[in-house]
Structures are given as C-alpha cells and as structure tokens.
C-alpha cells in the first residue's frame, strides 16, 4: 500500500476538487473516456476547430505527447474526475492522491496563512473564467430588481441591509432578505469574500450556507426573497442573475466578460511541481478552442481570451509530436 506517488492509479489521470470546475472537467473527462471518432460531428469533429486529424478524440490529444492509440477504441489512458471542493482538491494534490486539483479560487486565497515558498509547488493552469453572478429569487427580480450595486451587496452580506425595500432598484413590498452563502472553505465562498468584501477571511452574515452550488440554486428557486452567489453554470430561470452596478457601470451578462468585472474569478486546474505529459495532454485539450467551446461554454462559463489562452498554453510542456 503506502504512498502511491503518482496519481491514485497507474495509467489513468485523476482529478478532484472544486464543484465549480467540475462541470468542465467532468464533461472533458467523460468525452475523453468515450474517445469519440473523428467523424462525430457533435462532440469531436476536429475539422471544425482547425485541427487536422482523423484520430479519435483522446488518441489525438494524448498522441500530441506521444501516447500510443489503442486498437480497441479506448483512450490511451483513462481519466477519472472526482467531485468535491477546492480545499479537498488542493489537499489531495499536495498529498499525491490526484494528478490535477480543480480549484475555483487561487491557492493563495485558499491557504492564506502559507508562505510563497510553501505554495510554490502548486502549478496553476487557468482553464476558464467564472464571472461570479449575483443571483436572486425569481420573485425578487419580478419586483423590479434587475440590478444591484456592489455596496448594496456588501451591505446585505455584512448584515446592514435586511429588507429588500432598502435596495434601490427593488419596488416590491417589504420583504426580508434571505442571504445565502456557500460553505466556508469552498472556493466559491473564498473568492466571493475576496472579491466583494475585500478579504478571503472577511466576516459575513448569512441565513444559510449550502454545501454545493446546486443547493444554492435549488434554494433560490424555492424562495421568494433570496440572494446568493454561485457560479455562472448555476443560473436558471427560477434563479436568475441580476446586473451588478459598480461605480455607475452596470455589468450585464455580456459585459461580465470584461476583465474589470470585480467578481470575475479564474477557474484553475492545479498540478503538482511540474506538469506531466498526461496532465498536459488533458489540460491542452481544455485550453484549445475546441475545449473552450465544448466544455467551457456549454457550462455557461466564460472562455479565456486568446491572449490568456496563449499564456496558459505556454506553461505546458511542448507537444512531442
């Protein structure tokens, strides 16, 4: 038994961690394992992405780093993607239990009391951007709340605003604000505090804390007075987002992609010490426009700009063929 040094199982690539990043990596992993052929238009179809290949999906991406294709149609190596939280992902990565630690907050915010050098071995790969939305219950939106200022959000989460009538854009009846947060220690919570309240350890007052983003969404859907933050992937009809107004600028869904949007956060795939060829093959797939279109956009996250993509790609080892 003892310490498995590389990954939980030989041969396969394992990732675990953030539930926010999970929709991306999980879809990527699932398709990787299915290894669709090149003529599959829906999920692979390399030609659509200016990729010149007739290989199956995983065969192609793994092939870039010299992994041999299988005759059986199976990928050169399998992937397994765990669902957990940022903290768990990073910890498992550190303990050598997984190859990739998914994180929805930077490692520095997740482990605020660690020194630079302690954080050094975490190699950061940003794979997408989540412009963390402010979401409210449908009923609140219906009562006119289509935008909210950053100060109001801060007031709500610091316990200064407790009734919706205190929010300017709201013109419905008096109603208590139900403040919903994510569990402490989750990446989503950490980045929200970091971005909105200015400190990953800032105090906040909430009415309930949900373990996962999906629970936040369900709670919004069931309530008529709630406000919450989650990931873009979890916005729904009954749990709509509202525009955030910062210094007079109203950030709509479209404008959230702009780098100035203060709640924007990067979604990370950390690797340990180096990036192995296996890890690189998988991350390269996600970083490629193919991956951004196939995995990031359907999950409602924002793809990286070309510039940032190039920068992230440059951190990966060069493909061997």
């Amino acid at each position: 038994l003892g310490n498995a040094s590389e990954g939980s199982s030989e041969g396969s690539l394992s990732a675990d961690g953030s539930s926010t990043v999970y929709p991306i990596t999980s879809k990527a992993g699932s398709l990787w394992n299915s290894n669709p052929p090149a003529d599959d238009e829906e999920y692979w179809g390399p030609g659509q992405y200016d990729i010149d290949s007739d290989e199956n999906l995983a065969d192609y991406w793994a092939g870039l780093y010299g992994f041999e294709a299988n005759d059986s149609g199976k990928p050169p190596f399998e992937t397994s993607i765990g669902l957990n939280h940022t903290g768990v992902g990073l910890q498992k990565l550190e303990e050598g239990q997984v190859d990739i630690g998914d994180a929805s907050a930077p490692v520095s915010a997740e482990f605020p009391d660690r020194s630079e050098s302690e954080l050094e071995p975490f190699v950061d790969h940003v794979v997408a951007v989540d412009a963390q939305p402010i979401m409210v219950s449908k009923a609140v939106q219906d009562d006119g709340l289509d935008k909210i200022t950053l100060e109001e959000v801060q007031g709500i989460y610091q316990g200064e605003i407790s009734d919706w009538t205190e929010v300017e854009a709201y013109d419905g009846p008096s109603k208590e604000v139900q403040v919903i947060g994510r569990a402490e220690g989750s990446g989503t919570d950490t980045s929200f505090r970091n971005n909105v309240l200015g400190d990953p350890d800032a105090e906040m007052e909430v009415d309930s804390r949900k373990g996962e983003n999906q629970q936040v969404q369900t709670t919004l859907e069931q309530s008529d007075n709630a406000i919450a933050y989650a990931g873009l992937a979890f916005v729904s009809d009954q749990a709509p987002m509202v525009n955030l107004v910062i210094d007079g600028t109203e950030y709509t869904r479209e404008k959230m992609a702009e780098p100035e949007y203060p709640l924007a956060r990067d979604l990370h795939c950390y690797t340990w010490e180096d990036t192995s060829e296996k890890e690189a093959a998988f991350i390269r797939m996600i970083l490629h426009p193919y991956g951004q279109q196939q995995f990031v956009e359907p999950a409602d996250y924002l793809p990286l700009t070309d510039e940032r993509r190039e920068e992230e790609l440059s951190k990966l080892p060069e493909p061997s063929n």
């Binding site: 498995a4 939980s8 999980s26 699932s30 299915s34 999920y43 397994s80 993607i81 765990g82 208590e176």
Partner: protein, 523 residues
C-alpha cells in the same frame, strides 16, 4: 353471608344495551372528523383552494359547518346522557388527564390571544390564561364524566366554528408570533384547526359510543392509538407513492424487453456517458452491491462468531457485559461518526485515498452490532432441550453448535442480516467521507477483474477496491447537492426510486423470511 352483605354496590346487569340514539349521536362526529381530515389535508396539500368552492360551497363554509355539526352532536350527546335519556355508565369525573388537557388548551388559547392580540407583554398574559385554564380544568374535574368529556370538546368545536363564522379567522387572516419569523396564514390555520377540533370531538364521541366509563375510556384510547397507527401507515404509503410517482417513469424510460433474452433498462444498466447520451446509475448500483458484499463478508462471521461465543461459551460476567455495552454502543453510534472514524483510521492506511475497501470496512463495522444482536437473540431462542439432547448423546459442545444450534438459529440470523443490509445500503454519510469520489462514472468498479499479484507486499492488490466509487445514496446526494446532471430533477427522483427499491426489497425479503420461518415453526 354476613361479611358479604357489607357490599356497597348492587350488581349491575350482565348485559349492556346501547340505545340507537346514543350510537347515532356518537357516530356522527367520527364521520365528520374523517371528512374534515380528508378535506383539510387536501387543502393543506394545495389540492383544494379557498378560491374554488367544493360542491358549490365555499371551503370555509364547509369547515365551519363541519365544526358546528360536530360540536352540536357532542353537546346533544352529553345532554342526553346527563338527563338519562340514553343509558350510559359514566364515572364521577373525567379524570385529571382530560381536565388538564382541556385546561392546557384553554390556557394556551387565552395566553396567545392576550399576548399577541391584546399585546400583554412580559408575563402579564399568564394571569388571565392561568385563571381560565384552571377554571376549565376545575369544572371538568368536578363534572360527571359524560359532561366532562362532551361539553368541552363540543364547545371547542363550536368556538372554532364561531371564529370562522364571524370571520375572526378567515383565509386571509395572518398571525405572526413576535420574534419567530413565522407567519400562520388563515389558509393553513383554518383547515388545521378544523382537523384538530373535529379530532378531539371524534375522541369524545368514541368515549360516548361505549357509554363512557371504563369502556368509554377504552374506546377513546383505542381511537387515538388506532388513528396513530393509521397515520403511520398513511405516511409510509405517501412517502413511497410520492417517490414512485416522481421517479418511476424517469427510471424506466427507454426500457426494452425482448425479443428473446434481450433486456435493456438504460437507467439501471448504463453508466454515465456524455458521448453516448447515457445517464444511468449502473456504477452506483454496483458500488452499493460491493459495499454490501464487503460489509457482509466482514461483519457476518465476526458477528455470528461473537454471538455464539457470548451465548454458548462465555460465562455471564464482566467480560460479557463489557461486550454488551460495546455492542449496544456501536449500534447507536451515529453513522457520520463512523465516517469520521473511517477517515482517520482506514483511509490513511488503505492507500491514503477514499476507497471502496474503506467503505466496506466502515459499513461492516456498522453492520456488526446488528448482526451480533440479532444472532444472539436467535441463538438464545434455540431451546435448551436441543443442547441437552445432544449432550446426552455424548456429543461435544462444538459439534452441537455446528450441527444443531446454528442451523436452528439460522432463520433468525438470516433475517437479521438481511434487514441489517437494508439499513447499511441506505447509509450516506460514511460513504461520503470514506468512499465517494466521482458520481458520474461510465464504468462500474470491476472488483473481480482487478485482482493482481505482486512480488512485493501485500502480494495481492485490487485497484478497484482501493479506488473510490459511487453508491446509490451518494448518487442521490450528488443529485441533490451538485446537480450532477444539470437541470434534470427527474434524475434525482429516479435515483431515489431505485435506492428505495433496493433498500426496501431487503426489508421486504427480510420480513417475509421471518414470517415464513415463523409460520413453518408454528405449523
């Protein structure tokens, strides 16, 4: 004969005859309660609304009418009994229990009105409340039983009905007790109060039905206890029906049977695969299967062995009582504590990762006390005659245990194990902590195919056992908390349906096994 003439009571008639009047009067409130229960529950569940009339009557009118009818019937019953129009056998008093019950109702009602409606703060509301409460209790105590039972319950119904009639409480009424952050709406309160008041009335009527006295109190008590049993049945049926209704069609979607041996049940037999468009939970089912197998393999030999040792070999003493305390302690240890323990003890020692094996062991530990306790009972209940008979034939203890004791205890042991399995198969918390990793798997853990021999210790490894796995309860947890399949609520219900199907099958099989063996033994 002299001593017997001291007797203070003449003999009563050997037969009792209840007049049809009494029977008629007392059956009505019970029927009214049933109607109120059905209509009220339907209203609470939102199937009936106050906007839409029922048989041309406003819902509020229906409730008011029910209450007045019930109250009137009860008062009439009380009067008829008191005036001896009908033959009853009431006691001198309804007793302290009834008196304090109604006293408490009066106390709370006055207290609430005083504090919430008239805003009497502090404890000033307590004074009028106590006075009225004591008055009500006292007068019930000193009234004859027939009055003490019917009048307060009848008045209670009439009072509530009056509140409805004069629109003191109507569907638009609201009540927010200060500081609780809760609002009682008339839409909920009206049906709720109707059910409660008619229920009290039905209890009183059950009392009257048997002519009060000891027989009446028995009828009242049996009515309460019987209603409780019926409600529990109702809850069970509703729970199951609800899950089935929401999950069944999703779960059986795309099921194909035939031709020939072809059988495909996508939700149950497929894994999760984006590319193939499969959204099945096969890996979770297999995960649960292996968890159960592992737990059984671990717990059954230890549990049965310990049970045999404790019953057949150990002297009753300090050692056995320590083991008993430990067993009962294990039985009541919360599952999440088992999870933490597994995380601290097993995970670091089994590849430092969440794993199927860790889950098996933790669930095995949870199953252990169940197996031990039930096996012990079963072995204890093997008649000593068998053991004596065997000993008298010169057969040793161990042979007796193997050949006679354990086979005779087998039905009990098997039943215990099956029901124990049902229980652990539904456990979520420990799995969450020591086994779970990816809820969306394509392939089930291939435990059998993963054994490998190595040259270094431990010489035999099984990758599947040492990796994480999904399991049905975890799958359901995943569906609730992380929306693993996006906006697809049916997926969660279908998972719940399959989980329930698996767990309850174990229970049903266990219970039927026991019934079968009981019948066989008694035949």
């Amino acid at each position: 004969m002299s001593e017997r003439s001291l007797q203070y009571q003449s003999q009563n008639a050997l037969t009792v005859e209840h007049s049809p009047t009494l029977t008629g009067l007392s059956v009505v409130p019970i029927g009214l309660f049933l109607v109120a229960f059905v209509v009220g529950s339907a209203t609470l569940a939102g199937w009936l609304g106050f906007e839409s009339p029922l048989f041309g009557l406003a819902l509020e009118t229906v409730f008011t009418a029910l209450l007045f009818a019930s109250g009137a019937c009860l008062l009439a019953t009380g009067a008829a009994s008191r005036l001896e129009i009908v033959d009853t056998t009431p006691d001198r008093s309804a007793g302290v229990g009834v008196a304090s019950g109604f006293g408490f109702v009066a106390f709370s009602a006055i207290g609430l009105t005083a504090s919430q409606t008239f805003g009497l703060g502090g404890v000033r509301w307590a004074l009028p409340a106590s006075v009225v409460g004591v008055l009500v209790a006292g007068s019930i105590l000193f009234a004859r039983e027939d009055f003490g039972v019917t009048v307060p319950s009848g008045l209670f119904s009439l009072l509530i009905g009056g509140l409805f009639l004069f629109d003191v409480i109507d569907p638009s009424w609201t009540f927010s007790p200060a500081g609780f952050g809760v609002t009682f709406f008339g839409t909920v309160f009206v049906p709720l109060l109707t059910i409660v008041a008619t229920f009290v009335g039905a209890w009183a009527a059950a009392n009257a039905f048997q002519g009060f006295g000891a027989a009446g109190r028995q009828a009242g008590a049996f009515f309460l206890i019987g209603t409780n049993a019926a409600l529990i049945l109702l809850v069970l049926v509703l729970l199951i029906a609800f899950i089935v209704k929401n999950g069944f069609w999703y779960a059986v979607d795309g099921m194909e049977i035939g031709p020939g041996l072809h059988f495909h049940w996508p939700f149950v037999m497929d894994g999760y695969d984006v590319f193939l468009g499969q959204k099945g939970i096969f890996p979770a089912i297999v995960g649960t299967f292996w968890l159960v197998v592992g737990a059984v393999v671990l717990a059954v030999p230890i549990g049965v062995g310990a049970a045999v040792f404790l019953t057949e070999y150990a002297e009753q003493g300090r050692f056995t009582s320590v083991v008993e305390v430990a067993t009962n302690g294990l039985w009541s240890t919360p599952s999440v504590v088992f999870g933490l323990f597994g995380y601290a003890f097993l995970v670091p020692r089994l590849g430092n990762n969440t794993s199927l094996l860790a889950g098996m062991i933790v669930l095995g530990f949870m199953l252990l006390p169940l197996v031990l306790i039930t096996s012990r009972e079963a072995i204890k209940s093997v008649p000593d005659e068998y053991r004596d008979a065997s000993a008298a034939l010169g057969v040793s203890k161990w042979e007796t245990i193997k050949e006679v004791t354990i086979p005779s205890a087998m039905p009990g042991i098997v039943t215990g194990v099956i029901i124990g399995i049902g229980r652990i198969a539904g456990e979520t918390a420990p799995i969450l902590i020591v086994t779970a990793d990816n809820p969306q798997r394509k392939f089930a853990p291939a435990v059998l195919g993963s054994f490998e021999f190595t040259a270094t210790p431990p010489f035999i490894v099984n990758d599947a056992l040492l990796s994480g796995s999904s399991a049905l309860p975890y799958q359901l947890y995943g569906a609730i908390t992380t929306g693993v399949v996006g906006d697809d609520p049916g997926y969660g219900w279908a998972t719940a349906f399959v989980l329930l199907l698996v767990v309850l099958s174990f229970y049903v099989i266990g219970i039927m096994t026991r019934m079968y063996f009981r019948k066989k033994l008694h035949a």
